[in-house]
């Protein structure tokens, strides 16, 4: 059987499973979820053994320490995965909600009701917990899923998917509700992207190259999870102590996250003061500061001497870069308008922040910055489904279509109109 045929067989089965899932009650879906949690616990040994196999290959391939860490499962991490399944079971069902209803004068009654999207393809890299997270959120929203994980986690993903399917079988669900593409052949990606009859949408989670491949080939809608090039603008009327804490938190707490800060725009009137206090703290905690030439001229000699290795001249490219590391690009601006222009031209429309005590300036920034989340006096690190109170997250959309920002269960649904009459015809 060719790879194309093989994938179409999976797609066809997923389509049928989706029809089954769309008809289920909340209780039936939750019963399957709880069975999955139990089964993962029961299969713990097999899963950890499969993970050890992946780690062995990874070490032989000289994968970096952070990559190996992301790949690693432990009993504690499995416990975290099981807890997230329980959490999903307790979330409210996003399906069957009446989103709007109205009646015409002729008595025709309209209801707009949430329904599943259908079949969702998810193409992701490295972290095996995505296999479970994505599968359970899709199932809770009544969707079948077709998962294509990274080759580094292939054995782990296979073991996890096997567990999930065992639980589906035990609860008399079609196993095709959750399917893992059983190959690491890269040729599978364009084939999946062209299966528009079987997949209602596709979610790529990973690096630029993966997203670019998916966008180029996909014939169905794509929910992109692109770079987070997040900026903070520190206004002349900012509380500088607050600015220092927010910038430090947003840059330092987890630099590898997409909602971490990459750029700081300093109003020229407070730039020197910011460098003396916040700048010093960042340098002390190991952050490298790449400064525009105007800003570089303002760096106090004392700092320049003490942290000569960490203070550099920024290149143009630095202001379009997601460093994912303890590096920050900084420049001065003359006004909030200049800050907004910079963000419009350089950012990735993910999460941007203004620090100011002036409400009018803040509201202008909130209004004019066209990003998924725009903050006033709070860390960009809150861009996260959990922090938003969504209970779970399948990713963060950087597109403006269908879903924007953190995606919870509601973003995995569509809707339909139910129209009830008593013989009305159109005149």
């Amino acid at each position: 059987m060719s790879l194309t045929t093989q994938l179409h067989v999976l797609g066809q089965a997923a389509r049928e499973a989706a029809r089954f899932l769309a008809g289920l009650s909340t209780e039936e879906k939750n019963r399957a979820l709880l069975a999955m949690a139990d089964q993962i616990l029961a299969s713990q040994e097999e899963i950890l053994a499969a993970n050890e196999e992946d780690l062995k290959v990874g070490r032989e391939k000289n994968l970096s320490a952070p990559l190996l860490d992301r790949l690693t499962l432990t009993p504690a991490r499995l416990q975290g995965i099981i807890a997230s399944i329980h959490q999903a079971a307790f979330l409210p069902d996003p399906i069957g909600k009446i989103l709007a209803e109205w009646k015409r004068e002729d008595g025709l009654a309209f209801q707009k009701m949430s329904v599943p999207l259908g079949v969702i393809g998810i193409i992701y890299e490295s972290r095996p917990n995505v296999t479970v997270d994505a599968a359970i959120l899709c199932l809770k929203a009544g969707n079948a899923c077709l998962l294509r994980g990274g080759s580094e986690a292939f054995h782990t993903n296979t073991a996890l998917a096997t567990s999930l399917q065992l639980a589906l079988k035990a609860t008399h669900f079609p196993e095709a509700c959750i399917q893992l593409v059983p190959t690491t052949d890269r040729a599978a990606i364009p084939i999946l992207c062209e299966m528009e009859e079987h997949l209602d949408c596709i979610i790529p989670r990973g690096g630029k190259a993966l997203i670019e491949t998916v966008v180029r080939h996909a014939r169905m809608p794509v929910i992109k999870h692109n770079d987070g090039i997040c900026a903070a603008y520190i206004d002349q009327e900012a509380n500088l102590k607050m600015a220092s804490e927010l910038v430090f938190n947003a840059k330092h707490q987890r630099p590898s996250a997409c909602n971490a800060l990459e750029t700081v725009l300093l109003h020229e009137k407070i730039a020197t003061e910011f460098l003396k206090t916040a700048g010093k703290k960042l340098l002390q905690e190991g952050v490298e500061l790449r400064c525009s030439s105007e800003l570089l001229a303002l760096v106090p000699d004392s700092l320049r001497k003490e942290f000569s290795q960490q203070i550099k001249k920024a290149s143009k490219e630095d202001f379009r870069t997601e460093f994912l590391a303890l590096t920050l690009a900084l420049k001065t601006v003359a006004s909030v308008e200049e800050a907004i222009d910079h963000i419009t031209g350089h950012g990735s429309h993910h999460s941007d922040l203004i620090v100011t005590e002036n409400q009018q300036t803040a509201e202008q920034f909130l209004r004019e910055v066209d990003s998924a989340t725009v903050y006033w006096n709070a860390s960009t690190r809150f861009t996260d489904g959990g922090e938003f109170g969504f209970g779970a997250e399948i990713g963060i959309s950087t597109g403006k279509f269908h879903a924007r920002g953190p995606m919870g269960l509601a973003e995995l649904t569509s809707y339909k109109y139910l129209i009830r009459g008593h013989g009305q015809i159109r005149k």
Copy 2:
């Protein structure tokens, strides 16, 4: 300048215009709309002359009478276009709405607010009123648009777009808020489809070939307006008089519409009775009935004799065909489940109808048929933005993503999250 460069220049200008539009008040947008209505009236002679030019070419090319009719503008039709602009001005602004808001225990305040999508590409065929309809709805929702009309209407579209841009200029709006692609070269379509940096989404309105081309090339989201293969299931517990009226209205009132009926599924217990009454009426009014072989055997001799030219055996393909004419495919089914299965396998997820007096059967059909609009005892012809009360319609989406069914102003928006704090950091 190459076509690619030319289109990218338009795209870049549209992107800048979109930023301008996003910042406008409702009053400013409405002022521009009213100026457009005035300008179209003022330019009436030029527009009708341009239309006459298109009609002349069309007649030389032997375009069919219905196509020529769709292409024709008259003072009365221009009046209709002007009225629809006034109507758009009076519709509520879909932008800046607070769709949800909540506060965390730590005081962080979240608002989800509607914002424009940005730049919308619309590729359409034949009817020149789309040029104005699409442009004004995009503008009302704060979006810039790039329009690519059909070659048959090129002169008319150019004259209309010129009027709209004159009005934009007079109200100090950038002309790039509304741009018509100034060429009929088909090569423009794939180029537009790849301009993801300039276009936030693309709406193809037209035949299968156009939609297929756009889906294949588009790198941005596509809102498809596909076939309407709409079915009516007449249950054994149907009021047959109502069934007859609904089927007749849905098939006969405007057979060229996408929400017109193409398929009738008759419960075998009422099939003969339906043929005798509703069937006879359809035949008398000129409808051709293509019947499955089971149904054909049930046709009364009297009908068979009188309407021998209009009663035919249906092919398999007839049940997957959008006739857009006075033709109907009919077959018998043994149950509501069989009807739902048929619709799932043959329909286009547009609009489907059950006629029954049994509420339980109706609710099963409403729940299990996965179409944009599902009707109980009402004509499928109501699938229309105007009939839904949306005030205006940019089309009917047959996709499940972002927008489904009739699309009004709300479907031309995205949203963003505004988050206001007082120094909150993530722990």
